[in-house]
Amino acid sequence: MSTNIRNFCIIAHIDHGKSTLADRLLQLTGTISDREMTEQVLDSMDLEREKGVTIKASAVRMMYTARDGQVYELNLIDTPGHVDFGYEVSRALAACEGALLVVDASQGIEAQTLANLYLALEADLEIIPVINKIDLPSAHPDQVADDLSNLLGVPDDQILRISAKAGLNVEEVLEYVVQHVPPPKIDPQAPLRALIFDSHYDSYKGVVAYIRVMDGEINSGDILRLMQSETDLKPIEIGIFSPGLRPVAKLSAGEVGYIATGLKTVRECRVGDTVTLASRPAEQPLPGYQKVKPMVFAGIYPVEGEDYDELKESLEKLQLNDASLVYEPETSQALNFGFRCGFLGMFHMEIIQERLEREYDLDIIVTAPSVEYEVVLRDGSLVRIDSPAQLPDEAQLVEIREPWMKIQIFTPTDFYGTVMDLVTKRRGVFIGQDYPAPNRVQLNFEIPLSELIVDFFDQLKSRTRGYASLDYQFAEYRPDDLVKLEILVNGEPVDALATIVHREDAFHRGQAVISKLKDLIPRQLFVVPIQAYAAGRVISRANVKALRKDVLAKCYGGDITRKRKLLEKQKRGKKRMKMIGSVEIPQEAFLAVLRYGDE
């Protein structure tokens, strides 16, 4: 039977139509009826649907009767489409034997097309290139086919051209999967080894681990062992995705399914871990396990102090489903009680912020993101800090090291100069370049992560009119001449506005922040001096003038209700601001340090 199993995934650059294709495959195989079909069933979170991206990977089993008359079990594993979730992608790929590489017929090959392709090749997958959206007026499928042919060494005429949205040629995709994706190579006699490639939390079943059985088999009732976290468990049930959870008695080598673990937190059941039998454990876990580490850190504070407990509960709930979100309590002089949170990247941070605001209806302040620094002290010790406020006094410091990233920027060659300029302004170092497709260049750099998390992606997009795409991986920690840039409002340093910057940039950044803050801090009843301070001296200062006029004009014909409502609105706006000492600071001010304005 296992020879009729095909495990595959779809990889694509963001917005190239991966989820739409998945929807069509589900419909075509009758896995889900047209009636049940809501757009992009695999993306179950509202936020995903709105952002048009897949945040959590999902899996589904489809039964397909191919043209050869045989019935095949096709397991589709949907992978996250964003650079922050690279590790999750790599684990999902490890659960497959083949990948559909979907490329938009108008956009062509992009940075994540390549990044994901390389990951898929590393995982030794059979690649099936698919050109999507061929029905768009701007499509140039011949050109894209040519590029893909050059890239993969597949003849032009063997590259599928489809429109998932219009349902064009989608059946052909299923045939290709059956014919080209190899069946799983399995050893049913070997001790059980199953790869966890995703998970979610269910309030009844606990953590539900998504698994691919590599060797052996799982029977319901088996006592299982998670090899990396060294946890034994008796599953509540095991089953398959069809596409909802459907319990089965047995999962065999080559199959994809789930284990309802009953575990209470996703941290005990991490993506990449290997499941084996407690009674007959495998000798070696599956390769490739990593504990994902957060790269970007920021403080999250309730606007109203009384919402602290609610924020805490909301973070707990989010973490149930998201092992890569970490947080711990933090106290800020300016913002009082909140949490220091770690994220995989900027995108991940944005998603968490939005979910807190939208799903949990919280008013929060997110401080400027920071990376984790390694600080070497005079006494020889090394401390790690992920918040500028924690930076010890300069006199104690020997060295500050910061994380550097390898980045790949993929762009039309026209923008070569401006991309180069952006990266070098941000302390980036040019490593090399490739021309994987005509008129397209891939530029490779190394750059401090701290330069990447602040406004870099937006700048890149605007400089390249949206054409450039970006991928990045951690390289190493390197020392540099870094200083703390502090902001004083009304004479008081505001810890939440502090940043760590390169000494040479301190002056420029200080000025930029002060001139932004000057406009963002509304006039108060008194003059408010604001100053930027670094390396022992004030490098920029300005005054927010005192408020002199704030009164509603004429009361038109006795319309008191309108007047009251206007005042109520003004009052609500005032309430949303944070009192720092006796100064009211709006939320945007805390993000002002984010916008450098390179130009």
Partner: protein
């Protein structure tokens, strides 16, 4: 659910005493009559007024007379009235006869008290001696002229369609016609206006010898041409600091000239009795005493209920026509509601307190009194707003007028920062 208990109590009192005797216990009302027609809409104006609808005037006047009668019937008694205000729009666009029929309807339906203040807003460019004499003949005894500026360039920017010459002429005619209570409206804080040009306008207004001055800081309201110009970068934003200086200059200058500032934007000379010739009608608003609004988009406030009429003149006319003459028919709506209402809301007591504070504190001389608060709401001012008052006193935005705990008012510094104070109470 609206709360009618106070109304029922009032009616009960009527039936017991049986007639006019009780009226002395009913506070005198004010009436606002809205005239939503203009020959040309000024560039800063966001009031409910319309160009090129003059053809509707006869039907509109009829509808408004109908509404006056309707309200009267729904109350069941002739309410005492001590001020009536024709506002706009441009009331002076209406022929004397039309204004007369509305006044007549008001006199039929309400008891216009002796010495009642009857004000008409007028555009200086629309007047003649005969017209003003006609108004006097009707009993109009206060005239409010929209002068706005003495600078031709500023008047052009505001799209006022009159010049200083017209104002001068209008004032002369008004005096000849017998008006002894004149107001001039001025606007300051215009984009590009200098302190010097403001001083000049103010002096030229003073030269006309008005009894009353209203000085308004321009605000660029949404939906006005000036706002649009500003948003498109065609106009600079008025400088708030310069605007504040203009205001401070005017306060000082008017004090020198013997004017009393009694409200954030209003100054009056003292009359023969030594009392400032304040606008009684507007005082009614600021003291949150009852007033009834008639006409399109007019607002009323009585028995704790805020009413607002439909905005469009045609819709207003239609509403009143559909309602028919209240004549013999039993009124179907409770006072102060009218068939022309788009809304009638009774805010919760806490909101009413906020409204009372927000309006009363505009009165820069008298402020709000703790005793009035107690009488009106049955609670102590300090018990309800102690913390807010304390904070604002500390910030120097409020002050006790005579003795601590009696009358609270804005400090001189807070006169242009009113919102920072009012906000605390709503």
């Amino acid at each position: 659910m609206a709360d009618y208990t106070s109304l029922l109590a009032l009616r009960g009192a009527f039936s017991q005493v049986g007639g006019h005797g009780i009226l002395s216990h009913v506070p005198p009302y004010s009436l606002y009559l809205h005239i939503p027609f203009c020959r040309h809409r000024c560039a800063y104006c966001d009031f409910n007024t319309y160009e090129r609808l003059e053809a509707l005037i006869p039907a509109y006047v009829q509808a408004l007379c109908g509404e006056l009668r309707w309200i009267d019937r729904s109350f069941g008694q002739r309410l005492p009235v001590h001020s009536l205000f024709f506002g706009g729009g441009t009331p002076s666009l209406l022929p004397v006869g039309e204004l007369g029929s509305m006044l007549e309807a008001a006199r039929e339906s309400f008891e216009l008290l002796p010495g009642a203040e009857i004000t008409l807003e007028a555009n200086p460019g629309t007047l003649s001696l005969e017209y003003l004499q006609g108004l006097r003949g009707l009993g109009v005894n206060r005239l409010s002229l929209g002068m706005q500026s003495a600078q031709p360039g500023e008047l052009l920017l505001l799209e006022r369609q009159h010049g200083y010459q017209d104002v001068l002429q209008a004032v002369q005619w008004a005096r000849r016609a017998g008006f002894d209570n004149l107001n001039l409206d001025l606007i300051f804080g215009l984009p590009g206006q200098s302190l010097e040009s403001w001083r000049e306008s103010l002096e030229m207004a003073l030269d006309l010898g008005p009894e009353h001055l209203s000085l308004y800081a321009l605000s660029l309201e949404h939906g006005t041409p000036m706002r649009a110009w500003y948003e498109r970068g065609l106009l600079p934003e008025p400088d708030p600091d310069l605007t504040a200086e203009m205001y401070e200059y005017a306060s000082q200058r008017l004090a020198e000239q013997g004017f009393v500032q009694y409200e954030i934007s209003n100054w009056a000379r003292r009359g023969q009795d030594g009392q400032p010739l304040a606008c009684r009608h507007n005082l009614q608003y600021w003291r949150l005493l009852p007033y009834l609004g008639f006409g399109a988009g007019a607002h009323g406030y009585a028995l704790g209920v805020h009413t607002a009429n439909v905005l469009a003149p045609a819709a207003y006319i239609q509403r009143m026509q559909a309602a028919g003459d209240p004549g013999a028919a039993q009124p179907r709506l409770d006072f102060p509601r009218s068939p022309a209402n788009a809304s009638a809301e009774q805010p919760a007591q806490r909101e009413q307190m906020g409204e009372w504070m927000m309006m009363g504190l505009r009165l820069t001389e008298e402020g709000v009194s703790a005793q009035d608060f107690r009488q009106r709401f049955g609670q102590e001012l300090q018990a309800v707003y102690g913390r807010e008052i304390e904070r604002l006193l500390r910030l120097g935005l409020l002050e006790w007028r005579d003795r601590v705990g009696e009358r609270l008012r804005l400090s001189e510094r807070a006169r242009l920062l009113g919102n920072q104070v009012f906000m605390e109470f709503v």
